[in-house]
């Protein structure tokens, strides 16, 4: 029996390692290998290309703006959902998860239908006032906001629920106003959940492709994000550039994961939201 269970253990281990190596680890490693197949030439060519630097810069800006918007929305919404009672709360909480199960193409389609300058519900009116959403940077930001919308809320809500509001009530009864209570009591308790949600949103924002592709339309050039550039360069047989930009995106996303992995142990161990300070 002991012998047989050792065999089973080894067999399972082998199956799992084999599956993960074949499906994820080996292919991911090959990207690095392909990028540096002819030394640093490909990477140097990529970074010397103004299209590439523009795309990377646009991607970073879009990601930062989208994550900032989502941070404010996510933390605010989490507080409202956990700490307050209002009609339609359960429906809202269910609807917030909607973006997780919507195809990126549907996200793009939905935004185009409302914000297209020619036929969109609001698009025409906004266009007349000189604001273009779709086929412009705001559309890319909105598409990114759409796909990352639930990420911070889903991290913060369980932590807020677990913390309870005893500390907050104590703070208020001692005369702290809402702002003070938030900064001194609530925020320290949900700090790591927020950081975690932000890192996940950032990784997702840097890599969004489908929704951004639809919203950016064919206006290639100044509306091209890093992922769109990878597609174009690969299809134009500039594989070295495509691989180099891909590798940069992979490194960024793996870095995000490592940050999360380092943070995770401390996530469960925030003992009390406030420590007694002298």
């Amino acid at each position: 029996m002991g012998n047989r269970s050792r065999v089973v253990t080894w067999l399972l281990r082998l199956v799992v390692v084999g599956y993960l190596v074949m499906l994820v680890a080996w292919p991911t490693g090959l990207i690095a290998q392909n990028t540096f197949a002819d030394g640093l030439g490909g990477m140097r060519r990529a970074l010397g290309d103004p299209d590439v630097t523009h795309a990377l810069w646009l991607t970073v800006r879009v990601a930062v703006v989208a994550v900032a918007i989502n941070l404010v929305f996510g933390v605010g919404m989490s507080l409202l959902l956990v700490r307050y009672d209002f009609p339609g709360k359960r429906a809202l909480s269910a609807l917030i998860d909607l973006p997780l199960s919507v195809s990126p193409v549907v996200v793009g389609l939905a935004l185009v239908l409302v914000y297209n300058p020619r036929y969109g519900w609001f698009g025409e009116g906004l266009h007349d006032r000189g604001i273009d959403v779709v086929f412009a940077t705001p559309g890319i930001v909105m598409a990114t906001c759409f796909v990352v919308l639930p990420l911070i809320i889903r991290e913060v809500v369980p932590v807020l629920e677990e913390l309870g509001d005893d500390q907050e009530q104590a703070a208020r009864s001692l005369g702290a106003n809402g702002v003070q209570t938030f900064w001194r009591v609530t925020l320290p308790g949900i700090r790591w959940a927020i950081v975690y949600g932000v890192v996940l949103s950032l990784a997702r924002s840097l890599g969004e492709f489908g929704a951004v592709k639809i919203v950016a339309g064919r206006s290639i050039g100044n509306m091209e994000t890093a992922t769109l550039l990878v597609q174009r360069e690969y299809q134009n047989f500039h594989e070295d550039v495509a691989y180099s930009v891909s590798l940069l995106l992979v490194v960024a996303s793996v870095l995000c994961l490592v940050v999360v992995a380092i943070l995770r142990p401390s996530e469960g161990s925030h003992p009390e939201p406030i420590k007694e300070k002298k």
Partner: protein, 281 residues
Amino acid sequence: MATTTLTAGRPARKRRSARPRALNASASLGLGVGLLWFSLLVLIPLSAVVVEASGGGWETYRSALTNSQTVNALQLTVGVAVLTTVINMVMGTVIAWVLVRDRFWGKRALDLIIDIPFAMPTIVAGLVLLALYGSQGPIGVEFENTRKAVFLAIAFVTLPFIVRTVQPVLEEMEVEVEDAAASLGANRLTILRRIVLPTLVPAIFAGAALSFARGISEYGSLVLLSGNLPNRTEVTSYRMASLLEGGNRPAAAALATIMLLVALLAIVVLDATQRRLARRG
């Protein structure tokens, strides 16, 4: 997205005092602003999709569902999503088991690898799979532009869902119960069937719903990998995108609505199955 899925399978924690209070003025203002943003960003655009599709009445849906290219795309997408979900239900549970119960060198690295498909940009995921399974890959297979490539891509992007929902449940499970069963003479298979699996079933099915929803909506990883050959390797997301590019917005919207319904149906079916299994266990 790593722990976004965790919450789905996590057993309800005991809450301390949670006494939600009524809205005050500033909270109402915050809720108003939040709802406005949420409506402008998500609710109104998604309703626009349904409205656009329903503009032509049932005719739009009928023509979408009688177009053979669309039907083939739907069949392929749902078929591959079902297949990968089933594989994930088995492999995801096994991976979670090994990550929680086994101890060996390099386990933390494996844990990190699970999250890579979440964090990696989908277009890069396609390129990554092409590097190994494409014609220039080192193992000499040519999966590009075949249905095998579609399957690979979906298996890749949906890998983490079930692992990450089952893992926390396994971690919180008490080994004592299994020990007790073993001391009463139950063999490993019986313990697995009567104790371990019934505990894991809700998490497995919650993960399966996420995996299926992601599987039928995948787009980015297929763009470079599957060739998107009409009737052969074209999935519904790609079909939607090309309908939209061709200016056929109602058809694209109709297909989008159909996909939303399929996702809903899958959630209902998986939930019902899970309830039935839970009753029996």
